[in-house]
């Protein structure tokens, strides 16, 4: 872990002040800081609060929005449903591979993007579709995908500065 121990202490203390002993909000807060739930931090949380570690682990594995493994900053979900497939979803996946060099299930080495496929996003009328960080994009062409990705990268570069 690259962070200092006192940093982690601060994050935990902050979260505790805000949420008391409710496990799920605590975990959400921790995840916001680290982008996932590091095992060591959860162990510290248990020691600090007396909440049994198994209860924390139970909640951490129960909710899909919580993750015990590092997550990328941007989650890209490409639809691999039937309609999207027929209307060129495969080309979008290929385009993402050209731009970012990742296949479904992979993360870019800098931890910036993660690509997943889903079976029908429920908006077949706008096929082919994708969701980036919860935002829906429809009627996509490979060119548009390229544009959306480079915009995200620009924004990330700005934030770094």
């Amino acid at each position: 872990m690259s962070r200092q121990l006192s940093d982690v202490e601060d994050v935990l203390q902050n979260a505790l002040n805000k949420h008391g002993l409710s496990v799920v909000p605590l975990l959400q807060e921790i995840q916001e800081h680290f982008r996932y739930l590091p095992e060591e931090v959860l162990r510290m949380l248990s020691r600090k609060t007396g909440i049994p570690l198994i209860e924390i682990y139970h909640a951490a594995t129960f909710y899909n929005s919580l993750s015990l493994t590092p997550r990328a900053r941007h989650q890209i979900k490409i639809c691999a449903g039937t309609t999207c497939h027929i209307r060129g979803g495969g080309k979008l996946i290929e385009e993402i591979f050209q731009v970012l060099g990742i296949r479904p299930g992979e993360i870019t080495p800098n931890g910036e993007f993660m690509l997943e496929t889903v079976n029908c996003l429920g908006c077949c009328a706008f096929a082919p579709a994708m969701v980036v960080d919860g935002k829906y994009y429809g009627n996509l062409t490979p060119g548009e995908v390229r544009k959306i990705l480079s915009k995200l990268r620009e924004r990330a570069a700005l934030m770094e500065k």
């Binding site: 095992e39 049994p52 570690l53 198994i54 924390i56 682990y57 139970h58 594995t61 129960f62």
Partner: protein, 232 residues
Amino acid sequence: MVQIALNGLRVEVDEGMTILEAARFYGIAIPTLCYLEGLSPYGACRLCLVEIGSPGQSKLVTSCTYRVEEGLIVRTDSDWVIKRRKMLIELYLATCPSSKVIQDLASKYHVTSVRFTPWYEDCILCGLCVRMCAEQMQGKAIGFAHRGSNRKVTTPFDKESEVCRLCGGCMYVCPACQSRCQGPQEEQPVCNACLNLQQPCLDYFDDKMCFMDPCVACELDTNRELKVKRRL
């Protein structure tokens, strides 16, 4: 005290008792997998179901979690209950055929075949071990993790627990940890060896001569006769 009708019998039971406790108090057997005296009821295995209410408007409830109330009508072994119970046992047999507890239930309830492909789980998610650890051993070393078909009992991060005291309580109560008898039919999903026991004495005496009391073989055989009679 409240009055309830238990299999047609008018009985008085303590308020706040569950149907299961009341039935057991009056000596009526109800099978359970996820209930154990001294642990909080969990209501997960559904095996303890009984029929409540007057005929026509009755429903099935889990007796381990349902509390008695004044005038409650309970049938613990109606055709409906038996049918559902047998179905459940069949499902558990398919899930975990290596468990002696489940094999014994199959023999007891005359479940003689399994229509599902067995998938040899080593846990039926009854949660007894989790409650044993938390409630009796003050351990809280194990618990459920993940969900849906991935749900399982484990330690935090699937690693050796720091708080487990190796008391063995979890294994002691686990119905899946007791392996079935190693008979000649080990490969079959149903054992039923006990079900097919013959009274060993019949070749020599008739039952009036017998001083064995209770005799497992006799008991099973009477049960069988009763069941056959009921079906006719």
